[in-house]
């Protein structure tokens, strides 16, 4: 924050004013808070997906792909329920579970494929999942440009039927029920990782695959499961965005949220309960950045710098914590290949 203040100065704006705009809009006004919640929902779902996969030792980066496919699957389902379509209007309470299922499955299977490659063939999930993002984005472009395209000039679908929209939860704002889904998901992820034997096995797998095998844990299946859950959460993020905020499927719908969500998860130190507040802070900052740009005419990219610096400082803090004891002269053991253990 302090560092960024200097950046503000270079634009001739008072840092205090800039920060006021940055935080007042999302956290001081109802409207802004609503927008912040809108951005928080998919961010926190992606962050939760990251937490599940990374804590299981599966460094998945393919949330963009899961996001767009989850969005596409639920859009397709929603469009089917439009008036005059094959299925016709259905009750929202029937539609929502189906949409969750579709969104989850679309993302889950997509990520599961990457998990399968890693678990069975030993492929590198970082590379494959990154590449898979592009494939998914091209699939989306094909869908909105071809089979699902609405008459008109833009590559996008028709507006989804109103019956399929997630309800707005704060009167006078755009905040929708997606945040509730995200909170519920956070609770479930926390329960899985902390309270269930399956989660224990996934965490053991993440820490130490050799110990996991030794403990009779089927490492390949746990990784596959982690990939499926993670991708499913990414798919849900797409569902929430399309049903809650965009209300139609279009090219570029993700806007990079699949990567920002990973950053949020890292900032939350892979703690599922911290994911929502962190995502709220992050979502809020991006809303505030827009406001700041309007009012103080400071480019919103400054906020991006602020966010990036925050990540760097958190990571650097980690490094400092780990390496403090190894400062020259204090080092308890410079890595000597000696069997003696200093701490008994």
């Amino acid at each position: 924050m302090f560092v960024t203040a200097f950046l503000f100065l270079s634009y001739g704006a008072s840092p205090w004013q800039a920060y006021y705009a940055l935080f007042h809009e999302p956290f001081g006004t109802l409207r802004g808070f609503g927008y912040a919640l809108v951005r928080t929902s998919p961010l926190s779902l992606i962050a939760l997906g990251t937490i599940v996969s990374w804590r299981s030792g599966f460094a998945y980066l393919g949330f963009e792909g899961c996001f767009v496919l989850g969005a596409a699957a639920t859009s397709w389902l929603a469009l089917l329920t439009g008036p005059g379509e094959r299925v016709g209007p259905v009750s929202f309470f029937l539609f929502l579970p189906l949409a969750i299922l579709f969104g989850f499955l679309a993302g889950g299977v997509w990520a599961g494929l990457v998990g399968l490659v890693r678990a069975r063939l030993g492929g590198n999930e970082v590379l494959i999942s990154l590449m898979a993002n592009y494939v998914a984005i091209f699939i989306l472009q094909y869908l909105v440009g071809g089979p699902m395209r609405a008459p008109g000039s833009l590559p996008e679908t028709r507006l989804l039927p109103r019956t399929t929209w997630l309800p707005f939860i704060l009167p006078g704002t755009r905040a929708h029920a997606g945040i509730l889904i995200a909170i519920a998901a956070a609770g479930l992820v926390w329960m899985l990782l902390q309270k269930m034997p399956l989660g224990y096995e996934m965490i053991v797998t993440g820490f130490n695959a050799a110990a996991a095998r030794y403990a009779g844990i089927d490492v390949a299946r746990r990784i596959l499961l982690a990939a499926f859950f993670a991708g499913g959460l990414g798919g849900l993020a797409g569902m929430v965005e399309v049903l809650g905020s965009q209300h139609r499927l279009m090219d570029g719908i993700s806007g990079g949220v699949g990567f920002v969500g990973i950053v949020v998860a890292l900032l939350a130190r892979l703690n599922p309960l911290a994911a929502i507040p962190t995502a709220l802070l992050y979502g809020g900052l991006s809303v505030g950045a827009d406001a700041m740009q309007r009012r103080a005419s400071i480019p919103s990219s400054i906020t991006f710098i602020l966010q990036s610096l925050a990540v760097l400082f958190v990571l650097a803090f980690d490094a400092l914590r780990y390496y403090k004891i190894n400062l020259p002269g204090f080092s308890p053991r410079t890595p000597p290949p000696v069997a003696d253990e200093a701490s008994r």
């Binding site: 329960m191 309270k195 269930m196 034997p197 224990y200 096995e201 965490i203 053991v204 820490f207 130490n208 050799a210 110990a211 095998r213 030794y214 403990a215 009779g216 844990i217 089927d218 004891i325 002269g329 204090f330 308890p332 053991r333 410079t334 000597p336 290949p337 000696v338 069997a339 003696d340 253990e341 200093a342 701490s343 008994r344």
Partner: protein, 518 residues
């Protein structure tokens, strides 16, 4: 008598630990001086200070009556101090001579390997090292590689050699050779510091011994005026009984049967070659052998942590060969792996979480983990096995080796399995912990468990096992009764020589084995 080396009032503080507390240590020319102590007693710290690896907080080091400053290993080497680490610092692809001149720049920019080779040959002959300067280091057996390390020091004309646990990886015969070399060095007027916790070796070769405990040098004795009993007491600070009390018991029914097992390692080399064994209830069957002769692969294959090429594993007469690890555990085989920190435990997780590793599906309440039951069992383990920990919510990685081993062993014993596979249970542990682990293994045996004990320590096997099977190149060379076993006989079999047969037959095979494993 003139002291070659005097270390006076050495103090070294690490955060939270006083590693060396006013240590005094003297070394005379032409003496083999053993430095004895448990893990964490400060002996490695002391030697690393002497080698310039650590800076001391206070104290003085005098060499030949001159006060010296050791800022880095370079200074130490210049003063004629050399150190052989437990893990050798050799480039495996290089020849002996290349390894020896590595890092030396005295001859200018050009290497003169020819001249170095001749000097090495001369040095090697003079000290009985029996080394060929042209041999590639990676192809040499461990014991010979160690001699390369010594040769390196001699080439730099080190007068003071520090050897850190030099015998940990050697067969009895290789050990004898090493000791012969050390005696030659002593005749030559050089001094040797032997860092070790093996009493019998100290009694065999050292002239004097300094015992360290809790960062202090508690005593220095001439070997002639002390006994193993006294040294143990000095080292541990109390009486220790390391002679395991073996009571007479009847051998029960066969529990664990291994039939014609064949297993490969990752690179496709066959490491277990048609091996058959039977472990009975209430019996400890020891597997002796130099590391890398297929013992680890055998243990892993029994648990099906490693694919079995052919052969069968039977538990209580039922074939468990192809079953998953979880099913092996369910069927009643427990396993204490050699690598405590990377296989047997998850060091990042708490003691409580490690106490249920492998049992995570047992401590459940419906869909959820039975966290309270798991914690209770963890507390039970800590109490029953005397695990020293600040609490069960601390990371298991913070435990000392001995306490971590007690946690793993306790967990595997308390599962109530009929068979227990234990691999190197006391490797790197200090005497107190060894005593505890041995006691628990014998107790498990009394309870009628069938125990397969893999160890490289003959002393351990002779103390604990009822029968000892010697493994060499994936085969059992022979099975002897521990009661009437002779160390020489087992040692020969460990080197691949059947007692009474011609030793030449095993020679080339042994070399091939080392090429595979090293």
């Amino acid at each position: 008598m003139k002291h070659t080396l005097e270390m006076k009032n050495i103090v070294k503080r690490f955060p939270g630990v006083l590693a060396n507390n006013n240590v005094n240590f003297t070394l005379q020319a032409g003496e083999i001086h053993a430095l004895l102590g448990e893990n964490g007693a400060g002996k490695s710290t002391l030697m690393q200070i002497l080698y310039g690896f650590h800076a001391m907080d206070s104290g003085e080091i005098w060499i030949d009556g001159e006060r010296v400053h050791l800022g880095s290993p370079k200074d130490a080497i210049a003063l004629g101090i050399g150190m052989v680490y437990q893990e050798f610092m050799l480039v495996r692809r290089f020849s002996v001579v290349e390894n020896t001149v590595l890092g030396l720049r005295e001859r200018g920019a050009l290497l003169d390997l020819q001249r170095a080779s001749e000097e090495l040959k001369e040095l090697s002959n003079r000290h009985g090292l029996a080394l060929d300067p042209a041999a590639e280091v990676g192809s040499l057996p461990i014991g010979v590689q160690q001699r390369v390390e010594i040769l390196k020091l001699l080439y730099r004309d080190a007068r003071l050699l520090i050897l850190d646990e030099p015998t940990a990886v050697l067969t009895p015969q290789e050990k004898d050779h090493l000791f012969a070399v050390l005696r030659k060095l002593r005749e030559d007027g050089r001094s040797v510091v032997l860092v070790t916790h093996k009493l019998n070796e100290i009694m065999e070769i050292a002239d004097r011994v300094t015992v360290m405990r809790d960062g202090q040098a508690v005593a220095t004795r001439a070997i002639g005026s002390t006994s193993g009993q006294e040294l143990t007491r000095l080292m541990v600070g109390r009486e220790v009984n390391l002679r395991a009390e073996k009571s007479i018991r009847k051998r029960g029914a066969p529990i664990l049967q291994i039939e014609n097992l064949r297993v490969q390692d990752e690179t496709g080399h066959e490491k277990v070659r048609g091996l058959s064994l039977e472990v009975h209830a209430g019996e400890i069957l020891g597997i002796a052998g130099v590391d890398g002769n297929g013992q680890s692969e055998l243990a892993e294959a029994v648990m099906h942590l490693r694919e079995i090429k052919s052969g069968r594993v039977l538990l209580n007469g039922a074939d468990v060969t192809g079953l998953s690890v979880a099913k092996h555990r369910g069927a009643g085989i427990s396993y204490v792996p050699a690598d405590r920190r990377h296989v047997g435990s998850v060091t990042e997780m708490t003691v409580a979480d490690n106490a249920i590793l492998g049992l995570q599906r047992k401590y459940t309440r419906g869909l959820f983990r039975g966290i309270r039951e798991a914690r209770e069992s963890a507390l039970g383990l800590v109490a029953r096995f005397g695990i020293r920990t600040a609490g069960i919510d601390f990371a298991a990685g913070k435990l000392s080796g001995g306490n971590l081993q007690k946690l793993i062993l306790g967990r595997e014993i308390m599962r109530g399995s009929a068979a227990l596979v234990v691999e190197h249970p006391t490797r790197g542990l200090d005497v107190g912990a060894v005593e505890a682990v041995w006691g628990e293994l014998l107790r498990a045996q009394q309870e009628g468990k069938a125990i397969l004990l893999i160890s490289a320590e003959l002393e351990e096997l002779l103390n604990l096992a009822d029968r000892i099977a010697v493994m060499f190149e994936g085969r059992i060379m022979g099975v002897v009764d521990a009661a009437g076993a002779s160390v020489e006989e087992i040692g020969l079999m460990m080197a691949g020589i059947m007692p009474g047969s011609a030793p030449a037959a095993a020679g080339p095979a042994q070399e091939a084995r080392h090429r595979e494993t090293l």
